[in-house]
Point group: D2
Chain length 135, copies 4
């Protein structure tokens, strides 16, 4: 795997807090996995939406930052299949547009049987712009 991807992922401390593992990453694409531990269950006993989103969001961060610094500013997601505790889920982010002022990605999360359980999109702004704003 790309060594830059590994370095970026090492710095993704939130992802490590939740036990995510990097499966693949290159400019515009990233794939991670995480186990649905008992402490990650929601009130109904299935994988918490926050875990599902966090997995996709970490893939999002890697995929866009591999091509140059960018800050996430917006995301949306549908979650449509419940995932039981103990399963291992896979999150992917695929950049579908990258211009000077914005990047757009497609987010996918699948369960261990390969079924799509959640799908979304997210928007990032290259940090060139974002940084200026923050100062």
């Amino acid at each position: 795997m790309d060594s830059e991807a590994k370095k970026l992922f090492e710095r993704e401390r939130f992802a490590h807090e939740l036990g995510m593992r990097l499966l693949e990453a290159h400019a515009g694409y990233a794939k991670l996995e995480v186990e649905v531990k008992p402490q990650f269950a929601n009130l109904h006993g299935f994988a918490h939406g926050s875990l599902i989103f966090s997995l996709a969001d970490s893939a999002f961060a890697l995929s866009v930052n591999m091509e140059g610094p960018a800050a996430a500013v917006q995301f949306s997601m549908n979650i449509f299949r419940p995932v039981p505790v103990g399963d291992v889920i896979v999150g992917e982010s695929l950049q579908i547009y990258r211009g000077k002022s914005q990047a757009v990605v497609e987010l996918r999360v699948t369960d261990s049987r390969g079924r799509l359980i959640a799908k979304g999109q997210a928007t990032a702004l290259p940090v060139h712009y974002a940084e200026k704003e923050r100062r």
Copy 2:
């Protein structure tokens, strides 16, 4: 505070993993806070989008489940102000519609100075319907 709210929150293990605290909750509304610990920083050194969303999402879960079991199926959010490590952020979920087949909430996250840093919406389906589907 409502004792049912406390009980529901105790079962929100994902929220506890991240150190969230319950500030207020009743049917259709919930308010939580969390500290932006160093391990919750993103690649640019600010609060990770996953943390910001997870805070709002836990408030979402409490606010809709206080009125009867409901499963989150969709959400979207804009994050527009960076929050430094060490700050304490507050997440709120306010139900703006509840019908037989869907509930819609408004999500707000503010920093310790009270400035709005993220805003979103989410959709839940009463479990009456969702459960049938899952069997």
Copy 3:
């Protein structure tokens, strides 16, 4: 083409108001096109976001209703490439999940050169549920 698709499309009067044409439709999928007439330009002289969304939304309505009555309750979309007046754009809706309580679709809009200009997702509730609520 499916005759039920043609009948449903005939009843989509909003689509006809804007001059949309049906290209293809079957349960879970629909494809429409529309010309970007001068009156459909936004303040910057490109195709109005409302036109781009309306095209995708009409495809959405056909794709989900072909499988049984369903009401649109939520949508999100990113528009990332401007389209000049005079171009003909194509909108597609592909159902990626259909359960008893919800249907989720993926929306795509491409320009006459086949480039992706907008992408989104939408959620519908089978009318079985929605109707009960409205009475």
Copy 4:
């Protein structure tokens, strides 16, 4: 009313195609109304989602462009109450954040009885950035 608002609205040809009327507008805010004519009904006989969104979207365009040229790049919306043909609906856009690289607005649509029927958010990029990209 602000004369700049009137001028901008005159150039919103898509809004005029649908018969929208400008009620109020200033930097960061706009309010429009439209009648749900029979040709604007969806397959179930209620106001088409495309009409509801278009109303909010035109308010969005006015509200952000009053403060300086900006291009809409993303939006999401929940529609939760059906509106019958003949009703007059009101759409509002309120800017909740404006920085150098992005503007975020809140969208609201109410029926003639003042009930909230749809709510959403949208993101725009100041054209300063967007224009560079397009050339």
